[in-house]
């Protein structure tokens, strides 16, 4: 241990220098330091930029879906067309198909255009009717069937304009873009301009988009999220009813009772792996097991809920275990100390204390499930199926329906850009739900979180 005796410090490379001046090397190193830090800031900026871009795209494209152009029309509900016998028999009125209502619409549209005083080369009522949604006759029929006593009157209707007219008012459709369009011509737009001046054509808030059913390819202006929303709702009921009890029971077993053995290890390994299995694989599972094997109805929210339950379980189990773990052992000891059984200690003391954490985890799991799309596609919850409201609670679980994200996907697949607007709008609705759920979760955490 005498190696150092001959050495003196400072001898060699280092030249003693003042601390008050930065040497060259230090300057260089500090510059590298600044650069490195800048990379970090840039990375965060990139992340936040993408977030902003995403939100901007959603809001700028989606808000338009919440307004819709309507045309106010006076329609004469001619008795000779709708109720030839004049006896107001509802069965007979129902027999008149939507085709039977076309002449009424034709007349009303022609009158509207004539009244507005616009000079237009378009004369045929059939062409003029292109201004209106092709679902107009259907709406008319629904009104008459619901109010047969109004037959014979002239009733003022607010009818959705066709998606092209709507697009024109929203700036999506221009005269140039209509040059190749076979449904609407620039001349139509002249009429629209005039009618807009007169207040006959007006944009207003579109409740039908939020509450209504999906509509077929040719009627984007009538498509709504309402039915898909119900589909999601019924699915979430299934997920909540199954994943919360199963998830909590699993967590209690693993945290409080499970012995250290191969079976416990097997469960643990399975849970951690299931958490990372791609969602589409759960879709395959649902298709093969629930539909092919167990013959549950295809496209049913019940099946969707089952699949999403299996997908959500790992999330709920992981967060529930964390909150059970955070309850200090002294609580269990205290309960056991006064003679409670292990089961009583867990159910009477540990579980209530862990409940806020469990609920938070469950809500976050549900939010995840609500936004999941891929597995739903495989069990058939896509396509033009969210077109009718379920006829009751049981029907809500088993009759074919879509879900919000699947409906958005369905709209994004369709050719008409008017559906894209709906898809963005649908995302706003979906995100409103997700944000609400997350806020509730954060509130629960803030309000009830206990630090030991």
């Amino acid at each position: 241990m005498t190696d150092i005796s001959s050495n003196t410090p400072g001898q060699g490379a280092r030249v003693a220098s003042s601390l008050l001046t930065e040497d060259k090397r230090t300057k260089k190193r500090n510059a590298a330091e600044k650069r490195f830090k800048a990379y970090g800031i840039a990375a965060i900026a990139v992340g936040l930029f993408f977030l902003a871009a995403l939100l901007f795209a959603i809001i700028s494209n989606g808000t338009r879906a919440f307004t819709q152009t309507f045309v106010t029309l006076d329609i004469e509900l001619l008795e000779e067309k709708l109720d030839k016998n004049g006896n107001r028999d509802i069965e007979e009125i129902k027999k008149v198909s939507t085709f039977g209502y076309s002449p009424l619409l034709d007349a009303a549209v022609t009158k509207m255009v004539t009244d507005s005083g616009v000079e237009t080369p378009i004369t045929k009522a059939k062409d003029l009717k292109q201004l209106l949604s092709s679902g107009a006759a259907g709406d008319l029929r629904a009104f008459v069937v619901a109010n047969p006593d109004r037959i014979g009157d002239t009733v003022e209707f607010r009818i959705a304009a066709s998606s092209r007219v709507d697009g024109y008012l929203k700036g999506r459709v221009t005269r140039e873009s209509l040059a190749r369009d076979k449904n609407l011509s620039p001349e139509h737009l002249d009429i629209v301009d005039a009618l807009k001046e007169q207040g006959v054509v007006k944009k207003s808030f579109n409740w039908d988009f939020i509450l209504g059913a999906d509509a077929s390819d040719s009627r984007p202006e009538q498509a709504g999220m309402g039915v898909a929303m119900l589909g999601s709702f019924f699915m979430m009921l299934v997920v909540l009813a199954l994943s919360l009890p199963i998830g909590v029971a699993t967590s209690i077993y693993l945290e409080e009772f499970a012995p250290q053995n191969w079976f416990t290890d097997l469960i643990e390994v399975n849970i951690s792996n299931l958490a990372a299995v791609p969602s589409i694989v759960f879709g395959i599972l649902g298709l093969a097991v629930f539909i092919q094997f167990a013959h549950l109805p295809q496209s049913a929210p019940l099946v969707g809920g089952l699949v999403l339950t299996l997908m959500t379980l790992p999330t709920i189990i992981i967060s529930t275990r964390a909150s059970l773990k955070s309850v200090p052992p002294s609580i269990r000891d205290a309960a056991l100390g006064v003679g409670a059984s292990k089961m009583q200690a867990v159910f009477h003391h540990v579980l209530p204390l862990a409940m806020p954490g469990i609920l938070t985890g469950t809500i976050i799991g549900l939010a995840q499930a609500l936004g999941e799309t891929a597995p739903l596609l495989l069990i058939g919850m896509v396509g033009f199926i969210a077109s009718n409201y379920p006829e009751g609670v049981m029907d809500g679980f088993v009759s074919p329906n879509s879900a919000m994200p699947a409906q958005i996907y369905e709209w994004a697949k369709r050719a008409d850009p008017a559906f894209y607007e709906r898809a963005w709008g649908g995302i706003i609705i979906l995100l409103v739900f997700l944000i609400t759920m997350n806020i509730i979760a954060i509130f629960l955490r803030r309000r009830f979180e206990r630090r030991w």
Partner: protein
């Protein structure tokens, strides 16, 4: 305090002052952790800081190479000079300072790299070697100074984390020495070691004194008595007494020092 200084002057006639701290205050958030500390640390001596846990001795040590800068809520006031230069001056780069004032920590903390890379780390970042041969030389010299060369010379590529606790601590000392510091700060360097390893490190500290100014924090009075020439006793954030080690242990002037040394507080 005045008479303390006079004692100090007698023993430090032939030694120049390396670090001088005046009126140092340290705050952690709202807590006033160190109050009015004045210390002069001489070159080429071992100075020990002793005191009960939480008395501020480690905090003060960390002020000497501005390690406290890495703690957000920590604030240092007062005047600390090394060779007459204020280390808390705005122009001072803590990086340059720490190259000059090396530090060894309580728990051995070798990097998860080879023994060679552990020692070569400092010289590399400070650019002390211009060639591989020069770097090899620095590493060997540092490991010899760390009194661990003979134990590791055959396995320089083995990971530093694989050594025993005492060896790891000597490796950390070698690592600190490799950057050619002028002052070596040691924060309870033996508290995580067994008695044999402690003896080895203490022996090493005594040898390092010939080249460096060594400041060691310890809560073992025996250790302070064994290795140091000067001793400072801290209590509740105050520097109670500072003087020649022999004098502090045999004839303390402050009754708190006496209480501590005789085991009544601490």
């Amino acid at each position: 305090m005045d008479d303390l200084r006079s004692v100090e002057r007698i023993v430090s006639d032939d030694e120049k002052t390396k670090i001088s701290a005046k009126n140092v205050q340290v705050y952690y958030g709202d807590t006033h952790a160190i109050r009015d500390v004045d210390v002069e640390i001489a070159d080429k001596t071992v100075t020990a800081f002793i005191g009960p846990s939480g008395c501020g001795k480690s905090t003060f040590l960390r002020c000497l190479n501005r390690m406290n800068d890495t703690i957000d809520i920590c604030r240092v006031e007062g005047d600390i000079r090394i060779d007459g230069e204020d280390i808390y001056d705005k122009r001072v780069d803590p990086v340059q300072l720490r190259a000059k004032v090396g530090m060894v920590f309580q728990k051995p903390n070798p990097f998860p790299k080879s023994i060679y890379d552990n020692v070569a780390y400092g010289p590399r970042i400070h650019g002390l070697a211009h060639s591989k041969a020069e770097l090899d030389e620095i590493v060997e010299k540092s490991l010899r100074r760390g009194a661990i060369w003979n134990e590791v010379k055959d396995r320089l590529d083995a990971p530093g984390t694989g050594l025993s606790g005492g060896q790891q601590q000597r490796l950390c000392i070698a690592r600190a020495v490799a950057t050619e510091p002028e002052v070596l700060l040691m924060d309870e360097p033996c508290s995580a070691l067994d008695p044999i390893a402690t003896a080895q490190v203490e022996e090493l500290i005594d040898e390092l004194r010939q080249s460096y100014s060594v400041v060691i924090v310890t809560h073992s009075m025996q250790q302070a008595a064994r290795v140091s020439q000067r001793t400072a006793f801290f209590h509740l954030g105050n520097l109670v007494e500072f003087g020649e080690t022999g004098q502090i242990f045999t004839n303390p002037t402050d009754e708190r020092t006496e209480s501590y040394i005789s085991g009544r507080i601490g």
